[in-house]
Symmetry: C2
Subunit: 480 residues, 2 copies
């Protein structure tokens, strides 16, 4: 009774389904006898929509809490069309005590039970990682069930396969929670800026790194001490690797790039550096020079159509609004050819903010349940694109050379830079008042804009100078 | 062949319509012979969608330009489902020379021609005002056509009637462009924060006022000079009244309040003060005390469920992120019970940003064309709500009393405040170095948090003191 072209029921069937669903059922009876109605047959004023959660940690509990607290509000706001019920929750350890008061009979340790449960209409993936998470998201999509996920690594690494499955089975993937917690940047780019050519995106999108850099800046802490503080405060995971090595931020930048330019970006081609090598010395020099060090993601379209995408700690002017983004807050500056400059700011992680995005996606998914082919996402909308090789990307630079303090050092370094055609805009080598004759000093050069590849070549030569005692430290100086 | 319950065509009719629409038509032939297909019969991969513009000033031209420049991008991003064609443009003077290159045969001076044109499927209202604009929006809704508008005054003053018409005729009103230009705050509150109880919204949402206050702060200009500068730069209208008297901002705040709390807010009950009375003296005192003066809109829910909504120039701490919002930029800080604190920042007016929001709404409207009853808006979702009387709202205050400098002045004022139960947190009365014995001085009191009504009563008494030479000037000190 379903026409294959319109995917819509014939009149007769519609009436039948409405009749079935409008029958008042008690909850106990409900789980067993609820008729399995394909989502696209759902009438507008529906009974509750079944959700299955896979993963019930911080964010999962947050989703439970929001639905419990504000479920009625959501139903009112959607004029009675959206009422959620969490019907199944897969966890690793079903015996664990949890803050959210979910009834124990909802729990299972097998994610298949969530995905295959006929009363579960939307699957929420909150376990992280790219293996089991991939399997379960793929299984949900194959079952025609929309997926809500906050898993940036999964989509950045395996988006090509998952978006293809999503399209093949007409089951949307919603991932507002994957980038910048509560900040609705996915929706902003995908819907609000749909009429804009995105010129650039500059983001501070890893709260842990931002906190560590802030403490190194405002309290003069060294990296290990600031990291420990972040861990003690619960701002860093037990294994902090992905946060501090830049990859958490890079995964988000990859998604923002895919949203903005419409093609799947190969994570292997993306330049990523973390904050582990940042020293208090560089933070102090940055301050002296009017800059702040931030872990920045840059996504930018060039005139030749190539896309620059990179993540690294960079110098930004103290006066720029991004310099004021502190603690674990995230911010994303977007420049579009219509909107001009815009900024989105908020908490990039944590129970409430991330759950807020998951719930927004649930409502979105619920609205689309009834209409399929109404897939709002447009990923990917291009078969391919060209990434700008990192060696061709250009900025100004701060380079610190640990050197032996002897006559001729500046000249030798400057000569190599001059031969490479790289201009020097300034030098900085603060003398410690108590050590006017120190043997080893740090010599900072501020360099004019040049391609990164040319700088690298020059630095290789400079490293061979006998006065240079250690590898030079490079920060990009961003023009925002 | 249309079922009245589902509003969907029978199979036979659908096939017929698709056949009609897939016929390749030349443009000339198109305007005349294009079959009139009700929007809800539109197949997913449709030919172009007809837009009618009423008003072709700055924003209208911007919409034309964006569609011309990025129309292809929009179609790609929406996977071929959205392709726009502007089919009719109503203007006051059809002979005027315009920057956007719209063909002259599209122009008419009669908005009825736009609204009634059967090839126009979405009507864009960009003329402003609340009379003609009301008539044409109402006519479009009655014709079942979705409306995109940037008219905050219209929706704030006559939203009740228009939202009712919208629902009655199942024709959505999209108004992202009505608040804060390019900033997608409507979508953020209505969709991204749908799971949040909105605790408060604090907005700088009038660019003209913000520019004037900024120039009074950074260059020490007086109000008339700063206003003239804003006019010279094109930041203020020839008639600046609604910008500087607070009502432009208040209209936007009313819409944000309605979005957040779901009921139509009566503009007559909203407290609004503009920036015309702000003096360089107060700006300077604010600076001395660590504050900045901003025209702020506050919308807040209280524990008793009442909604505080007001617009006025206020003191905010220099360290708050809103204090860094300069020029004609807008910013809206939202606090939700899930997301926590978030901030949306961007250009609040101008051709590009506002047109960017109109185009986003056009895409939204186009997506909904095919499905009606999929009305994403939820306005109003409550029959009514309670506004907190302005006299019951509480903040700390800055009050400047112009006084005769004679012994006893402080004591007399302080006694009246004490009797009213209003605490004094500080006083400030800078002596001009060159006039140590000036007869008339300005005496500033910083007052602890108290209900506005109590302060007003105390001030009435103080005004009767013979030492008080002019009306006291009051600014609220906001806790954000």
């Amino acid at each position: 009774m379903i026409d294959s072209a319109t995917k819509r029921p014939s009149l007769l069937h519609t009436v039948h389904v409405i009749a079935l669903r409008s029958k008042v059922l008690k909850l106990s009876e409900f789980r067993i006898s609820r008729p399995i109605v394909p989502a696209y047959l759902r009438p507008v004023n529906c009974s509750s929509i079944g959700i299955g959660l896979v993963g019930f940690g911080t964010v999962g509990s947050g989703v439970w809490d929001i639905l419990e607290r504000n479920g009625g509000l959501i139903t009112k706001r959607t004029k009675g069309t959206v009422k959620f019920e969490i019907r199944k929750i897969a966890v690793r350890d079903s015996g664990k005590t949890r803050s959210a008061k979910a009834p124990t009979d909802l729990f299972t340790t097998d994610w298949n039970e969530v995905v295959q449960d006929p009363t579960v209409e939307i699957v929420v993936e909150l376990i992280g990682g790219t293996d089991t998470a991939y399997d379960l998201v793929a299984a949900a999509l194959k079952a025609g069930k929309p997926v809500v996920t906050g898993n940036k690594a999964l989509l950045a690494e395996r988006g090509r396969e998952l978006f293809a499955l999503s399209r093949e089975h007409d089951a949307p993937i919603h991932f507002e929670a994957a980038v910048a917690g509560g900040i609705p940047i996915i929706k902003a780019i995908q819907e609000s800026l749909v009429g804009n050519r995105i010129e650039s995106i500059t983001g501070i999108i890893n709260g842990t790194s931002n906190y560590i850099l802030m403490r190194m800046t405002d309290a003069g802490l060294d990296y290990p001490t600031a990291l420990k503080e972040a861990k003690d405060l619960g701002y860093a995971e037990a294994d902090e690797t992905l946060d501090v090595n830049g990859w958490d931020a890079a995964h988000k930048a990859i998604l923002l790039g895919t949203l903005s330019y419409g093609f799947i970006i190969d994570s292997k081609q993306v330049y990523v550096r973390g904050i582990e090598f940042v020293r208090p010395l560089d933070i102090q020099f940055a301050k002296d020079l009017g800059y702040v060090v931030k872990l920045l993601c840059i996504v930018r379209e060039h005139e030749d159509g190539s896309i620059e995408i990179r993540t690294q700690p960079s110098f930004i002017p103290q006066s720029h609004i991004l310099a004021a983004v502190n603690d674990v807050f995230n911010a994303i500056a977007v420049r579009g050819d219509g909107i001009g400059d815009a900024l989105f700011y908020g908490r990039g992680a944590g129970e409430g903010p991330t759950a807020s995005s998951v719930v927004a996606d649930l409502v979105e998914a619920a609205r689309l349940l009834g209409q399929r082919s109404g897939h709002r996402g447009f990923l990917p909308y291009q078969k391919s694109g060209v990434l700008k090789p990192i060696d061709d990307t250009e900025t100004a630079y701060y380079v610190r050379f640990p050197v032996t303090d002897r006559p001729g050092v500046v000249a030798e370094i400057a000569t190599i830079l001059a031969n490479a055609g790289i201009g020097i805009s300034g030098t900085h080598s603060p003398v410690k008042p108590d050590q006017p004759d120190a043997e080893f000093i740090d010599m900072v050069f501020l360099l004019h804009t040049s391609p990164f590849g040319e700088l690298k070549d020059a630095l290789k030569q400079i490293e061979t100078l006998d006065c240079v005692t250690d590898r030079p430290v490079v920060f990009r100086i961003e023009t925002l």
